[in-house]
Symmetry: C2
Subunit: 359 residues, 2 copies
């Protein structure tokens, strides 16, 4: 992590031309990742015309009115097994959730394995079974795959890529650039569990209770939310995002930037479990920056916020959904938290990540 805390990079947030080499933070989903996308990948891919607002999944027109969501994620989490899950179910749920954030019904997933020579086949079998079970729960199928093997000493056991294709129902229009002043910001449940679960097992620290990953597939919750709106296609729900790397803070910043709006939220209204709070205090972290793998943040018009919340409370993955803030016209691109003591603070995106390789 030394590189990304380099004072030069810190005061002048890393224009790519000043960096020579890849650092861990480039994979952290924060500003460094964003710079890599904007200044390296998008020009190289001749994709500068594509949505400037980063989406969890691309939206494709397939003809005959069929709209597809398409997404990919590679998983390099260490260790491969952690409280409440494994790289396998994480890979399935993560890709299902990226599809769901476009409002899509997952149609099929792919699995790409990069295996380390010498990996126990039992481990591979357990992880493959975890993927199969997670896919069944998410009501999606793993239909195509690929396996490569690299020499012993590489790949830390295994890396897994899952890509996914989903169908976006007619009338559903979600867009990270579509949040608007007046929208309420809803978080679907308790925040910070996945990151703390990984940290605790990796650092060998416990915090009273064992915190388990919140990894869960959210396509069903999203379908329920969309159906609850008048017309049944989510009119009034403007944007959805799953707060993974960078946590809720990064998600709020991304939507504020993409939609050119300000966001104000009440710090005390963010539901953080006691054990996560304890771990964060102990480690000097901010729960708002800790990764989640089974939560979403929704930007919802005030007219529908009640029906959407009610629908969420009736779904197993939304029982603890809460309104945490409001979208405002003032300070576009900026996220401000109000503390319990009446103060305010500006919440920023992390440069890299607090802990590498949590997904």
């Amino acid at each position: 992590m030394a590189d990304i805390l380099d004072p030069l990079a810190w005061t002048c947030p890393a224009p790519l031309r000043d960096q020579q080499r890849v650092v861990l933070g480039h994979g952290g989903g924060g500003k460094l990742s964003q710079e890599l996308i904007e200044h390296l990948f998008m020009p190289a891919f001749d994709a500068t015309d594509l949505a400037s607002a980063p989406r969890d999944s691309a939206v494709l027109e397939a003809g005959a009115g069929v709209r597809l969501a398409f997404t990919t994620d590679s998983y390099v989490v260490q260790p491969l097994f952690f409280p409440g899950g494994s790289i396998g179910d994480l890979a399935v749920n993560g890709t299902v959730n990226d599809l769901a954030m476009s409002g899509a019904v997952p149609l099929a997933l792919s699995s790409g394995f990069i295996l380390e020579e010498g990996l126990e086949l039992d481990v591979l079998g357990q992880i493959a079974e975890a993927m199969g079970r997670a896919a069944k729960v998410a009501d999606v199928r793993l239909v195509t795959g690929d396996t490569k093997v690299v020499e012993h000493g590489h790949a830390d056991g295994m890396y897994v890529n899952t890509s996914g294709v989903g169908l976006i129902p007619a009338g559903v229009e979600l867009d990270p650039a579509a949040a608007r002043p007046g929208d309420r910001v809803i978080v679907s449940g308790l925040v910070g569990e996945h990151g703390v679960a990984i940290m605790s097992v990796r650092e060998g620290i416990t915090f009273g209770t064992v915190v388990q990953t919140d990894s869960a597939p959210l396509a069903g919750l999203v379908a329920t939310m969309l159906a609850a709106c008048p017309g049944g296609t989510g009119q009034g729900i403007h944007a959805l995002r799953d707060p993974t790397r960078g946590g809720v803070a990064a998600t709020l910043c991304e939507i504020a930037e993409a939609s050119r709006v300000g966001i104000e939220f009440l710090e005390s209204s963010v539901p953080v479990p006691d054990a996560v709070q304890a771990a964060c205090s102990f480690l000097g972290l901010d729960a708002l920056h800790v990764a989640n793998e089974g939560k979403l943040v929704a930007f919802v018009a005030p007219e529908v916020v009640d029906v959407v919340l009610e629908a969420m409370h009736g779904h197993e993955y939304g029982r603890q959904a809460a309104v945490i803030g409001t979208v405002i016209e003032a300070h576009p691109g900026m996220v401000v938290g109000r503390t319990a003591f009446g103060g305010t603070r500006v919440v920023d995106r992390p440069l890299g990540e607090q802990l590498p390789r949590i997904c």
Copy 2:
């Protein structure tokens, strides 16, 4: 390679239960890969009902008559740059070709990078640009992506996953299980270049001429072939496959098994460049087993073989297309080569791969 040449594994071709650990050959696209798919992944993914004949891409019904091809491939080739190409264009062309083998018109690709901390950004930039150029040539767009970074010492610079979605035109029906007796076997051009290009640069051996990878996108060639058939949707073309890992030999064996037919071919009719032949003689390899990245093998009804060949000869990636054999009823699942001296030999699938990490 020691593990996969273990006498036990060799004499008793690796029922999975007798193996404890992943070996390099599990990623070689040969019998060991097939066993992993059949005995580990398919049961775990509850996918035993899916096409028993392995396809290059899955076919999905998206409603409204829209049929999609969906595929994934991870690339771990070493070195990252080699004569005529790089991991970047290889990753784009490979996935385009997997879509094309289902007759699909590529719609969009994803890119998933696993980067090694310390990789020069210049190298990443060059490879990303190679991907962008290859995508432009293949007339497809890279629309979504993901980047992870692992610690120095892992990931050999970078691994790249590309997944892809394509649209299968109405009326196009290609199936690896659909080859039938009487079909002619066409190879689209010179065989063995990609594998020899990687070997020569990795082993530091030259064979007179520098052999370059044949990496190329084949969707345009396939579209041309399909259009040449009566009706314009490939009636008479029964199966297509790109002979990558395991080479033309593995492809012939896979189609013979999937279609439950025999295949006979004339060894001398397989177009092998002199430099490839020289390299193979020197290294004790069989050009039929060497990987290609810009070729296809087609199984075509005798009524259309002339128009298909003519169309191929008019396309830049099919100029040297040649009929090499015939599908027969006898010895289903078996591939027999007739040598120049009138003898025959049974061609088998490799157990693992001749050279690991060629793609």
